[in-house]
């Protein structure tokens, strides 16, 4: 189990995440909802342990082990990975080299082919292509999803996997998430899209760095639609709302 215990993250003296408590279990899907600026991507970076995103307070525990001070690579070696909202581009790097990490990720050609097909990319057309600026945003996202499939992670944070991908492909993302979970991965989905969030087992709603609400996705999505979509004080939860919700 991956747990965030009383996690705070501050940048330039400003608290971006406040007293976050979350637990993630293998084989389950979690949706993190929140308006822009709520701290969702920061949460993803803190979980992954990116440079400059060490919690100011609190702990991150993986199966009881304190990994708060672990660097990115150590966390990745323990099965945690992250798909960026806008994945990086690589000059000259072929897709096959990227997916196999230059041979470090020992996967068969058959697995690569299947992963690409799952994300809707024809292996014959894409394997020799470069992971550079010539890929469209949607193609790059699909490549990243294929990479996640091949990594077989224990925990994966997908930061807005649907952004930049056409609406017709939402089913593909569902399918990938389902398959990851079926194979035992824990999927943490950061999303704005209701239909994706509803597929989760459990949801958290972030507002200005606090967990405003958590629970069944249907309940959280309904609240989000009723309150956050029309919110006239985005990312400024009033005490009243906070207390009411916590009650």
């Amino acid at each position: 189990m991956l747990a965030l215990v009383d996690v705070w993250y501050e940048s330039d003296g400003k608290a971006i995440l406040k007293n976050i408590n979350m637990t993630f279990e293998p084989g389950k899907v979690y949706a993190i909802l929140g308006t822009n600026g709520a701290g969702k991507s920061t949460l993803a970076y803190v979980i992954m342990g990116l440079e400059g995103y060490r919690p100011t307070r609190g702990r991150i525990l993986l199966d009881g082990e304190d990994i708060t001070d672990f660097p990115v690579t150590e966390r990745a070696k323990r099965g945690i990975t992250l798909m960026w909202q806008e994945p990086a581009r690589f000059t000259g790097l072929k897709l096959k080299d990227y997916l196999t990490l230059g041979g470090k990720n020992k996967v068969s050609d058959e697995e690569i082919k299947r992963a690409l097909e799952m994300v809707g990319l024809n292996p014959h057309l894409y394997l020799e292509r470069l992971v550079d600026e010539k890929l469209s945003g949607g193609e790059r996202k699909r490549v990243e999803l294929a990479s996640v499939i091949l990594l077989k992670p224990k925990y994966v944070v997908l930061d807005e996997p649907d952004s930049g991908i056409d609406i017709m492909s939402v089913d593909m993302i569902d399918h990938v998430v389902e398959e990851l979970a079926e194979k035992g991965s824990c999927v943490v989905l950061i999303t704005h899209r209701e239909e994706i969030a509803l597929k989760a087992d459990h949801s958290y709603l972030l507002c200005r760095g606090i967990v405003l609400k958590e629970g069944h996705p249907g309940e959280i999505v309904s609240f989000y639609k009723a309150s956050c979509d029309k919110c006239d004080h985005p990312n400024e939860p009033t005490e009243r709302v906070g207390e009411e919700l916590r009650a």
Partner: protein
């Protein structure tokens, strides 16, 4: 084919050439045009129909005039091997290459200096492409690990109307030493040129690259690109230069340089000069440390920082 007196020399060169990634069998295939130079001698030569190869001796080296006839489209690349098997010396090589109207040829060149220590290689390539011709010249170098080679390679291309010219220089597998790469192409109407240099410099290697494209004819297009990696105390200086001299010309210069090491020094200077208000030139450069997002993306997949850096560099130099 191989000159009889030089068979043993060819064998020694062949071994070094294969280590450089070349395919020696191409030099023994009568269907493939080839030139083999060792020191100041041509030790192997094979012309095919439509290709005229004329070698001659010059001071401290060799000149080879190569002409591909009008309309001749070569099925196989012309293979060129330039070698120097001694430790000390000076070698001059001049290639005068002409492609007549609508001819098409690809050249695969390997320069191998496996044991050179105090050695200077001075190469000049003059290219003339007539209307509609297509030429690619891919030059890969393999040096010794002493880092004491002095290499100057210059190419001057006159690219005719509607012709295409691609010139690549690669030195990524061994030490460099001192290197100067100068590529220049002048383009006539609707001609296209791509100049591309890839270099990996280590220790105290010193590299200077200058790529220049003059878009002289209407509708001409050019790309001048350099990818370089400088490690340790190496120095890499790059100038990519583009001149938009005529209407509807388009040019782009691009430089990617990664620097890693104490005492390393890299520079990139794009020069864009427009002399016609219907010309459009652009540039793009990224120099310095390995991109953090790229690094962290790969590290989030389990690679160490060193492994991630290596993979990023591999991409840049491939």
């Amino acid at each position: 084919m191989i000159v009889k007196d030089f068979e043993r020399e060819f064998e020694a060169l062949a071994r070094a050439y294969e280590r450089a990634g070349g395919d020696v069998s191409k030099f023994l295939d009568k269907r493939i045009a080839s030139v083999i130079i060792s020191g100041d001698r041509v030790i192997g030569l094979n012309g095919v129909e439509g290709v005229v190869l004329k070698p001659s001796k010059i001071e401290s080296g060799v000149q080879v005039d190569m002409e591909i006839g009008a309309g001749v489209v070569l099925e196989h690349p012309v293979h060129v091997c330039t070698g120097f098997l001694e430790k000390k010396g000076y070698q001059r090589v001049i290639f005068n290459i002409t492609l007549r109207r609508n001819a098409k040829a690809i050249f695969t060149a390997h320069c191998v200096f496996p044991w050179a220590e105090e050695f200077t290689h001075d190469a000049l390539m003059n290219v003339r492409l007539e209307e509609g011709a297509w030429m690619e010249y891919h030059d890969e170098h393999m040096h010794s690990e002493t880092g004491s080679i002095n290499l100057i390679t210059r190419s001057i291309a006159d690219v005719g109307m509607g012709a295409f010219f691609r010139n690549t220089f690669t030195l990524v597998k061994t030490r460099v030493g001192k290197l100067k790469v100068f590529m220049e192409a002048s383009l006539k109407e609707k001609a296209i040129a791509e100049l591309f240099t890839k270099v990996k410099a280590t220790k105290d290697d010193d590299v200077e690259v200058r790529e220049t494209i003059k878009l002289d004819g209407e509708g001409a297009r050019g790309l001048a690109k350099t990818n370089a990696v400088a490690l340790d105390r190496a120095k890499v200086s790059v100038v990519n230069e583009m001149y938009g001299n005529s209407p509807n010309t388009r040019g782009h210069v691009e430089c990617v340089e990664i620097a890693k090491g104490d005492g390393v020094e890299v520079s990139a200077l794009p020069i864009l000069i427009v002399k016609n208000d219907l010309s459009e030139l652009t540039h793009e450069a990224s120099i310095g440390r390995v991109n953090v997002k790229q690094l962290q993306t790969l590290m989030a997949k389990g690679l160490t920082e060193e492994e991630a850096t290596e993979l990023i560099i591999k991409g840049i130099l491939t």
